[in-house]
């Protein structure tokens, strides 16, 4: 590439726009991890006995595990004893009932992010369960949802108010023994979101949570559990930005989805955590375990993700298709720039008859980043008539980045149809030339082409997110989107 490369270099070297630190007093445990810390967290959150037992089981199992080395990412060893495992905004432990009770400085933070909570809640009709560090500080529209029987609250509230649901479903999709980071999360998770949609209810609004890592040196361990009971329907939005910071932060979240008969869950993520500076210093380590189980017949789980941030992204939102005729979907755009590394993809495990899955993954790498798709499609012997279609496209910008594709296809049933396709390309000089020739500047042309490349995924996002996603893509790659 001749001229476009120099333009891209300028365009792709934009600084992170959302970097700042909010000064709120936080209550933080001393750094380190041992059984006492686990007990302290559990006691602090006034958890019932079974939760403490579960955490301790996870912690003891974690001690026997080794950090996985197979992902195609590189980072200095993490000192798990140096991090602090709990932090909560101090002044708000009682939990505000309305937006007025919320710390104004906190609100200002959201303001700076360009997504004012109050405005958004009112205008967009979104109930936001804002997770500021580890404890929920504001929940809106709760009353309205309650009328329908929908439970949408922070995880700690759910543990206190609905222990029977937690006990029944927690760890059934991602067991505490699952993997190194999920196990660590199980032991020390601080808070997260819980959502239960009762039988036959269609959630009238997009449920949304807003994660934000704030206090320095605090690994954030979120736990999300969504249960869609028979015939229910829910769309859940998750969005993240994080302030600029020099030390690497570990984020090891776990998300569990359960869809029963005829239920549908749509889970959308826009992730824009601090990716580190141009030399790869700082930035978030995003090691997340996300998994959904389609337990019932005709159930459906759909993952949509736009990953633009984090120094390292390491996540595989998966679907276990147990119920007959269940459907799993995965739509992903992963953008890496500078020194970012992403190793992401999905797993589709077909167990039930006539199960279907679709995988659309778009990877864009720029600068000196590395972008890996890693996915598994597994058709079990009993999955009669299973169907999968996968498409993984990569786009390379700049000659120092890498794009890798590692799909695994395992088929044990002859009636299954499995297709995988992948391409790797760059923005064609002829495409740019065509745009230039029509009077479109190179910067606009690039963003147009990139947005076109990702269109298949963006159209799956709820409207509120689609706008933000395009914006983030612009910020990550160019600075402005035409």
């Amino acid at each position: 590439m001749s001229t476009p490369t120099t333009d891209l270099d300028v365009l792709t070297s934009q600084d992170y726009k959302y970097g700042f630190v909010t000064d709120i007093e936080t209550e933080t445990v001393p750094p380190g991890l041992n059984e006492d810390i686990v007990r302290w967290i559990s006691a602090k959150k006034k958890e019932p006995e079974f939760m403490l037992d579960w955490r301790l089981k996870a912690y003891r199992h974690w001690l026997t595990m080794a950090e996985p080395k197979w992902p195609n990412v590189h980072y200095p060893p993490i000192d798990y004893q140096a991090a602090s495992y709990f932090s909560a905004p101090k002044s708000k432990t009682d939990g505000p009932k309305s937006l007025d009770d919320v710390d104004p400085e906190l609100l200002a933070t959201y303001e700076k992010l360009g997504i004012p909570l109050s405005e958004r809640a009112a205008l967009a009709g979104v109930a936001v369960d804002a997770v500021f560090d580890s404890v929920s500080v504001a929940t809106t529209f709760k009353g309205e949802l309650e009328k329908l029987g929908i439970i949408f609250c922070s995880f700690s509230e759910a543990v206190l108010n609905h222990p029977e649901l937690i006990e029944k479903y927690l760890g059934t999709v991602v067991p505490y023994t699952d993997n190194f980071f999920a196990t660590l999360n199980s032991a020390v998770f601080s808070d997260g979101s819980f959502c239960y949609i009762p039988k036959g209810v269609r959630s009238p609004m997009e449920l949304s949570t807003y994660f934000r890592i704030n206090a320095a040196n605090t690994g954030q361990f979120e736990r999300t559990l969504i249960i869609a009971d028979e015939g229910s329907h829910v769309s859940y939005l998750e969005g993240c930005t994080a302030p600029m910071r020099d030390e690497n932060q570990l984020h090891a979240a776990v998300v569990e989805l359960v869809a029963l008969d005829n239920a549908q869950i749509k889970y959308s993520t826009v992730q824009n955590w601090y990716p580190g500076d141009k030399e790869g210093k700082g930035g978030i380590y995003n090691f997340v375990t996300k998994r959904g189980a389609c337990r019932g017949v005709n159930s459906k789980i759909s993952w949509t993700q736009v990953e633009t941030g984090s120094a390292i992204t390491w996540k595989y939102p998966s679907c276990i298709l147990i119920g007959d005729n269940s459907v799993g979907e995965f739509y992903s755009v992963a953008v890496t720039n500078n020194r970012q590394q992403a190793d992401t993809g999905t797993k589709m495990i077909h167990i039930g008859k006539n199960t279907r899955s679709t995988i659309i993954s778009k990877g864009i790498s720029a600068g000196r980043s590395s972008n890996t798709y890693r996915g598994l499609v597994k058709i079990q012997k009993g999955a009669q008539g299973a169907r999968n279609f996968s498409q993984c496209d990569s786009m390379l910008m700049g000659d120092e980045c890498g794009a890798h594709t590692f799909p695994y296809l395992e088929v044990k049933n002859p009636t299954a149809q499995v297709e995988h396709e992948a391409t790797t390309s760059k923005i064609g000089e002829d495409q740019l030339f065509y745009c230039n020739q029509r009077g479109i500047p190179t910067e606009d042309a690039i963003s147009m082409i990139v947005n076109g490349f990702c269109k298949e995924v963006f159209k799956e996002l709820p409207m509120e997110f689609a706008v933000e996603a395009q914006k983030l893509l612009g910020v990550s790659l160019e600075g402005s989107v035409g």
Partner: protein, 440 residues
């Protein structure tokens, strides 16, 4: 695991036993053999924990202590007739149990280059093969190839001299008599195509007996600048055989290599093809066809390393799986940061004919250059019911319709074979396999 360690010892013992024979060999070869043995001893047989062997367990080979196959007399041309192509004129080298058998071979000395056994070449002019033999493969991460380097008794050398084009292909036939159970051979082939030369080699691996035996073959192909090589690897071992192989191809500037790999036989088969495109403007084509049944397990793995700009590689592997068979494909395209303008394509298609067959495929791309065109695809499916119905509505019986569609699935690979006798042979082999009484 002590049990496996013991089996490793049998190979060490075999290696020790050959110490005397090695004294006659040139120093450089002894050194390379020692290195091979050392590498194998260190690594042992790869287990399924090894990512490249995830779906193929070599334990059935590892747990048996295979002895080097004994010399066998009495194999006649009639015995190996089904594996020869009489219609094809050209030199033929036949190896029985890993040893060159002149009585079954025919060499036309009129050719300018070299078509002979490694052993006789080592006696006459070892210097010609020193730059190549066992030099490349042992450097790779492949303990079985390392074992071959350490233990091969004999093999073939084909050297096509510069500026020459050979019309007739060279036939290399490796026969295992499998008289005694648990015998092993380690055949070796070295193909050197010098500057601007052109030639074809047909490599056949076959078995005559039904007792278990192991063939562990290595083929090295070195294509000098502007050389063209057409390579056929026809694997027709008996169903109780274990077959592991490595084909390693090194290509110079403007060279063009095509390799066809056909796997119909063998109980447990693992074929590796490694291609290094070392200079600009190389072209490499890899075609693979496997048709297996019963409890056969066939694993094909390819690795193409694009190190320089303007090279292209094309891979098409197709599998037909029946019975309880299992097909595995692992492909990797690596594009180095330097290798701009690379055009790489990889495709693996599988047809499952029975409820108990299984396919695991893993096509991979590793790309570190931006101005490239790379794509891969994989499909797994069954016979198109509508197409079968169409044929039946035209009065074609169900079983015939299915055979026809299965044949059509493989046809494009067969059509890519340049030599008609080979194409015809495998067409009919495929058809006889497909016609099954009673249809489904």
């Amino acid at each position: 695991m002590p049990a496996v360690a013991e089996q490793l010892n049998t190979y060490l013992e075999t290696f020790e036993a050959q110490a005397e024979a090695r004294q006659a060999e040139p120093e450089w070869l002894v050194e390379r053999r020692n290195r091979g043995m050392q590498q194998f001893a260190e690594r042992g047989f790869p287990t399924t924990k090894h990512e490249e062997y995830r779906y193929t367990s070599l334990a059935p080979i590892a747990k048996v202590s295979f002895q080097s196959a004994a010399e066998a007399a009495g194999v006649t041309l009639d015995d190996i007739e089904p594996f020869l192509y009489g219609e094809i004129k050209g030199d033929r080298l036949v190896f029985v149990n890993g040893r060159f058998t002149p009585s079954l071979s025919s060499i036309d000395s009129a050719l300018g280059g070299t078509v002979t056994s490694i052993r006789s070449l080592l006696e006459d002019e070892p210097a010609t093969i020193e730059p190549h033999l066992a030099r490349h493969s042992t450097e790779r991460d492949n303990p079985l190839a390392a074992l071959n380097s350490a233990l091969f008794a004999d093999g073939a050398v084909v050297r096509i001299p510069a500026h020459e084009a050979w019309d007739a292909p060279i036939q290399l036939v490796f026969v295992s008599t499998a008289d005694a159970p648990n015998s092993a051979t380690h055949p070796r082939v070295l193909i050197i195509a010098e500057r601007d030369s052109e030639g074809s080699v047909i490599e056949t691996h076959c078995g005559l007996g039904e007792t278990p035996y192991w063939t562990n073959a290595v083929t090295e192909i070195i294509a000098a600048p502007n050389a063209r090589v057409d390579h056929y690897r026809l694997q027709q071992e008996s169903l109780s055989a274990f077959h592991t192989s490595l084909v390693e191809i090194h290509q110079g500037r403007d060279s063009n290599v095509t390799t066809h790999s056909v796997s119909f036989g063998g109980g447990l088969v693992r074929n590796d093809v490694e291609v290094v495109l070392e200079d600009e403007n190389c072209e490499c084509t890899m075609n693979g066809l496997y048709a297996v049944n019963g409890r056969q397990h066939v694993d094909n793995r390819t690795r193409v390393d694009h190190t320089k700009p303007h090279c292209s590689s094309h891979q098409l592997y197709k599998g037909i799986l029946d019975g309880h068979s299992r097909g595995v494909f692992g492909g990797k395209i690596i594009v180095r940061p330097d290798a701009q303008k690379t055009d790489a394509f990889q495709s693996n298609k599988n047809l499952l004919l029975s409820a108990d067959a299984e396919v695991n495929t893993k096509p991979q791309l590793e790309i570190d250059a931006n101005d490239v065109k790379c794509s891969h695809g994989a499909t797994i499916g069954q016979i198109d019911e509508e197409a079968a119905f169409y044929l039946r509505s035209r009065g074609i019986g169900e079983s015939e319709a299915r055979s026809l569609l299965t044949y059509a699935f493989a046809a494009d690979l067969l059509e890519r074979m340049k030599f008609e006798p080979i194409r015809k042979r495998f067409e009919s082999l495929l058809m006889t396999r497909l016609i099954r009484p009673g249809g489904k």
